[in-house]
């Protein structure tokens, strides 16, 4: 099907063996001589004024090497969005959630560090709490931050087209609501940090982060260090899903302790701390009014959303924008109004999580489409097909879709899941506990703009041919957090240079190697992929020009293919070059022979001619989006889209929902690695299913999490997983390398609504609160599911 040797195949991941055999080094695996262990003092109260912090008893404990509070750390504000820097390394005036960090200790062992934490005396004056996101903005509520009047961290008011016109054109208008709960990323590896200061005074931090570059900037800013003296290295990372995309107090405090003691310092979160730190999925309260014409054409959407973001802004501004902007697609929708409010409450801060901001909004909108289809007497998939956008169209909020396999994806799941047959069968036994539902999704393929305002390239890649010939080293700041970006970079390089994957080594995730904005917004394959391709082509050009000059042929008649330098214009006389190479390798066996120069020979000879063969690549998106306020969020060089069909069985007495099968199709433009694309789709289905059916952070009345562990915070087990079918759609994105675009987040978008729609099909009742626990199903069944 494709003309590629390596791209579009199921090549084995470059890190597979290391991870399977346990050889891969995660941050917590690193040990250093004289290493200290850090512990953090977390606030036990959700909202209180700090009157006094007394660390004297902790400091006196034998084995304790340093105790730091805001007095040592300073109070430089930081955060994610420069417009909302509202955190300091340690709390100094107030604590704002149970878990807020007050102090840190470094000691010769972990036991001592923890003991010292308990010796720090803090006097608090308790303050009234704000725990309910819906009422947090009301007058008279206690205020968390001086800068957020009415606890309003960010609000968005958009109006595209004319919704009044849309109303007038509508045949049916309906309003629905959907609420969700805060959720956790539940990645396998808890956050871990190892910081040290080298003999030159450089701060080097190893961290299980998704975004070395942003973390480097925040460390330098908050610790007041020159940027070039701060180096962030990301070892193997066991998943992130968003919560690891920003700098944390654990990172800052560990660095501070390393600077203060001059010794390496490590901290690894307990699972409970993962929950306390959170920065995961917000709580959403969506209300949508949607109108549709008699022929099934969408006429308008009026969308209102409140986001409970916990104690700090984190990614929240982007979240509230994404919640609105990503409903611009994948359907033609001329009129859209959006009012979004992101409030702060005395709970752990929420941030970005897979499908950033858009997942619950998508769920409600797709439920609305099904309800409108039912009222119109149309098949839900037919209604969607009537409205899907095509490549070349622009949404009402000025997002341009340059490739778009939405129709193809929808038809693929319809046919593969035997939708027609099952709908008809379900129609007869409707509400008998078996149901089928469909939904679509739409997502960015890399954020159009960096988090801080800048003309910065979003990534650079530096590729170098080994001076001895044969091998190629790719250096990148990109963060492989398990999604497989190192493999993608290796495959692109091998493809371009006509060599095997084994000839390529990738070193990545190090801020000293190159700049890369990191693993978020599903950006790496498209953006770093571009830069990687450019770097490889640069290398190739240098090799070919060196050899062409020696052979006195035009460089454009030469190519690198299947491990050889090949001529496109008749046979070459390589004998002189071959002789030189053989002369260099007296005593070696297994030397090259035959009529063509090997890649190893070509690389070696090019080095002899030119010196180091180093190619560089870079990428930044072109200017994107409209000129309205907040237009930047949601822009992307390309958009992924997806469709899914879920089949469920509902126990009508206990309310227990079993997902029997999910069939999904995702348009990733072009699959660089087919197995990895399917893996992202399957992972998304699993994660979306957990969020739909089980996952919820639960709080008591004092703002404490009651289920801060993976025993009580439920994610699906292997036994819960249904059969998953992943169908790859390739629309060949003109702005992506080789036509590739995202799959990492987009594939999660249709999961929750397809399950919600299937449950309705199975039971005849609608659930308007996530997760869909058995109890909520039973309650809906008994009340008729209003």
């Amino acid at each position: 099907m494709s003309n590629y040797r390596i791209l579009n195949t199921r090549a084995r991941r470059v890190d597979a063996v290391d991870k399977i055999t346990g050889r891969a080094m995660y941050t917590d695996d690193f040990q250093r001589p004289n290493m200290l262990y850090a512990a953090l003092l977390h606030s036990p109260l959700a909202h209180a004024r700090i009157l006094n912090i007394d660390t004297s008893r902790a400091e006196a404990l034998p084995g304790v090497k340093a105790v730091v509070t805001w007095r040592e750390a300073g109070t430089v504000p930081y955060g994610v969005s420069p417009a909302r820097y509202d955190e300091t390394i340690f709390c100094y005036d107030k604590v704002r959630y149970v878990g807020d960090e007050i102090a840190a200790v470094a000691a010769s062992d972990l036991d001592t560090a923890l003991e010292a934490i308990n010796l720090i005396k803090v006097n608090f004056e308790e303050l009234p709490l704000v725990l309910d996101g819906l009422t947090a903005m009301n007058d008279g509520q206690p205020r968390l931050h001086d800068q957020y009047k009415n606890n309003m961290c960010a609000e968005v008011h958009w109006h595209f087209g004319d919704i009044e016109q849309g109303r007038r054109e509508s045949h049916i208008i309906r309003t629905d609501k959907l609420t969700s709960k805060m959720q956790d990323g539940a990645f396998m590896e808890p956050q871990s940090v190892l910081a040290e200061v080298d003999a030159q005074g450089d701060l080097i931090m190893y961290s299980s982060t998704q975004a070395p570059h942003y973390v480097q900037r925040t460390l330098a800013m908050a610790l007041q260090m020159p940027l070039h003296k701060v180096r962030v290295i990301k070892p193997a990372v066991g998943g992130g899903f968003g919560p690891k995309a920003s700098c944390s107090t654990a990172e800052l405090a560990t660095c501070l302790l390393a600077m203060k003691t001059g010794r390496p310092v490590k901290i690894t979160f307990d699972r409970e701390q993962v929950f306390l730190h959170s920065r995961a999925r917000h709580q959403f309260f969506h209300t949508m009014t949607t109108g549709i014409k008699k022929d099934g054409t969408l006429s308008f959407l009026d969308h209102h959303c409140i986001l409970d973001g916990g104690a700090y802004a984190s990614f929240g501004i982007a979240t509230i924008y994404y919640a609105g902007s990503l409903l611009g697609g994948p359907y033609r929708l001329k009129n859209m109004k959006y009012d979004g409010y992101r409030v702060v409450t005395n709970k752990p801060a929420c941030g970005a999580q897979r499908g950033h901001g858009a997942v619950i909004a998508r769920a409600l909108f797709e439920v609305q489409l099904d309800r409108l289809a039912e009222e119109l007497g149309l098949d839900p998939i037919e209604l969607r097909l009537k409205n899907v956008m095509e490549a070349g169209e622009t949404t009402c909020n000025e997002l341009f879709v340059s490739s778009f396999g939405m129709r193809e994806a929808l038809e693929a799941v319809r046919d593969s899941a035997a939708w027609q047959t099952k709908r008809e069968r379900a129609g007869k036994t409707h509400r008998n506990g078996k149901g089928i539902g469909a939904a679509c999704g739409f997502f960015v393929s890399g954020a159009g703009y960096s988090i801080y305002r800048s003309r910065t390239y979003h990534c650079t890649v530096i590729t170098k041919v080994d001076e001895v010939g044969g091998g190629v080293l790719v250096q990148s700041g990109a963060a492989d957090i398990g999604q497989g970006s190192d493999t993608v970079l290796a495959m692109i390089t091998a493809e371009e240079l006509g060599i095997t994957l084994d000839d390529v080594r990738v070193v990545s995730g190090d801020s000293k190697l190159s700049v890369d904005l990191g693993a978020y917004s599903s950006r790496t394959t498209l953006m770093t992929g571009h830069a990687c391709r450019e770097a490889a082509q640069d290398v190739k050009r240098q090799i070919l020009s060196a050899i062409a000059a020696l052979l006195s042929v035009p460089p454009e008649t030469l190519d690198l293919k299947d491990g050889f330098l090949v001529s496109l214009a008749g046979p070459l006389d390589i004998s002189e070059l071959r002789r030189e190479y053989l002369r260099e390798h007296l005593g070696f066996t297994d030397l090259p022979e035959g009529p063509q120069l090997t890649f190893a020979e070509a690389g070696r000879i090019a080095f002899l001619e030119l010196g180091a063969i180093v190619g560089t690549g870079k990428y930044k998106p072109p200017p994107l989006g409209g000129s309205f306020k907040g237009a930047a969020v949601g822009t992307s060089p390309a958009f992924g889209c997806s469709a899914q069909v879920a089949e469920v069985t509902v126990d009508l007495e206990t309310g227990r929902v079993t997902v029997d099968k999910i069939t999904g199709a995702h348009d990733c433009g072009f699959a660089i690695n087919r197995t990895q694309v399917e893996g992202q789709m399957q992972g998304s289905m699993m994660m979306g299913m957990g969020e739909a059916l089980m996952e919820q952070i639960q709080y008591d009345t004092k703002g404490r999490i009651v289920n801060a562990n993976l025993a009580e915070y439920k994610i699906p087990t292997a036994l819960d997983m249904p059969h998953l079918e992943a169908i790859i759609v390739e629309s060949h994105e003109p702005h992506g390398p080789y036509g590739a675009k995202e799959v990492g987040e987009g594939a999660i978008m249709p999961v929750i609504p397809s399950i919600l729609n299937a449950i309705y099909d199975a039971t005849g009742v609608r659930i308007d609160e996530l997760p869909i626990t058995p109890e909520r199903v039973v309650a809906a069944l008994r009340t008729g599911g209003k």
Binding site: P44, L51, G99, N118, L119, N123, V706, T717, A718, A779
Partner: protein, 339 residues
């Protein structure tokens, strides 16, 4: 997970275990079997567990303040205990008494009278894999099937699951329904107690300091009998039940009236409960649809559920009826040899 410091005692015989237990009671000792509950319970809290309240003293002239460390003049109850995952602050024991060397306490013995003696240190996996248990005491096998995950079942023991006395314990509920007797041993001898009378509240039992649960004895099932257990939860493994119900049902003859019935309820009260109201409704009746529905409704009267993060009292009560009805039917089919 970070554990507090403790020393481990490793007796080689039950007699020695009882002696060591008695000798260390004053210093603080807990019994370690599989450790799947105990070690989790002992893990070190991440955030300060006690925030005592001081209404004003020389060190806290500010008045009405809260401190993460002690003050000699606290004059009222702590403002809060525990943070993060809410759990009572437990004073870590100085000693753990490990039962792992007591081979006698691991394994099953089917006796000539048809009864079954199960050592308290028998693993959940051993229970799950026993053909005898699956045939004669099916509800127990089904409790074992549903407990935790394979890793937990390989370590966890039936004695530990019962003695830990959680209201939802997956083997305790069938053990009560199957009318087992527990054998407790101490330096002063042996005593036995009905499984239903053993737990007294969440994590609490009638066991005395110095006593070890050594055996669980399951009486022989009646000729035409069957039993079943069902755990209702949000996922298929690694769960604590929202509601768990176990049923034992015996018929006088196949197709005949109910000779004996016993129902136990999990997670709907402070401890696993015997549903005493079911017997009077069902005994002597032909177990038809109406009789079973009546019995299931009767079981609701014995439940005392509360609202918590796993489910509301309302939902749990409804599910007691649904599960009891379904399980009576399953047990009936088994009693009639239909499995």
């Amino acid at each position: 997970m970070i554990l507090p410091r403790f020393d481990v005692l490793t007796p080689a015989t039950v007699t020695e275990a009882c002696a060591l237990l008695a000798a260390h009671t004053a210093a603080g000792v807990r019994i370690l079997a599989g450790g799947t509950d105990l070690l989790v319970e002992l893990r070190r809290p991440i955030i300060p567990q006690h925030v005592p309240r001081c209404d004003g003293c020389p060190t806290h002239p500010e008045g009405a303040v809260f401190s993460t460390i002690d003050c000699t003049m606290w004059n009222s109850e702590p403002l809060m205990a525990a943070g993060g995952s809410v759990r009572a602050a437990v004073k870590p024991p100085a000693f753990l008494l490990s039962l792992h060397k007591l081979r006698d306490l691991r394994g099953l013995q089917k006796r000539t009278d048809g009864s079954l003696r199960v050592g308290a240190c028998t693993t959940i996996t051993d229970i799950e894999r026993s053909r005898d248990i699956r045939e004669g005491w099916t509800a127990l096998a089904e409790g074992a099937d549903n407990l935790g995950s394979p890793l937990v079942r390989n370590r966890g023991t039936v004695g530990g699951n019962i003695a830990n006395a959680r209201p939802a314990a997956d083997t305790a509920v069938p053990t009560i329904a199957l009318r087992a007797t527990l054998v407790l041993r101490s330096t002063s001898g042996i005593r036995t107690i009905a499984a239903a009378d053993f737990p007294t509240g969440p994590g609490k039992t009638i066991i005395n300091p110095g006593e070890i649960l050594t055996y669980i004895e399951y009486p022989a099932p009646a000729k035409y009998s069957g039993s079943a257990y069902h755990k209702l939860a949000n996922r298929k493994a690694l769960e604590i039940s929202t509601v768990g119900v176990a049923v034992y049902l015996a018929l006088e003859t196949p197709g005949g009236p109910v000779a004996d019935v016993s129902v136990a309820l999990g997670a709907v009260g402070p401890k696993p409960l015997a549903a005493a109201s079911v017997g009077p409704v069902l005994l002597g009746r032909i177990p038809d649809e109406t009789a079973i529905n009546d019995a299931a409704r009767a079981a609701m009267e014995d439940a005392r559920p509360i609202d918590d993060h796993r489910g509301s009292a309302w939902y749990r009560l409804q599910m007691v009826e649904v599960l009891t009805r379904r399980l009576l039917k399953t047990a009936l089919a088994r009693a009639e040899g239909k499995k």
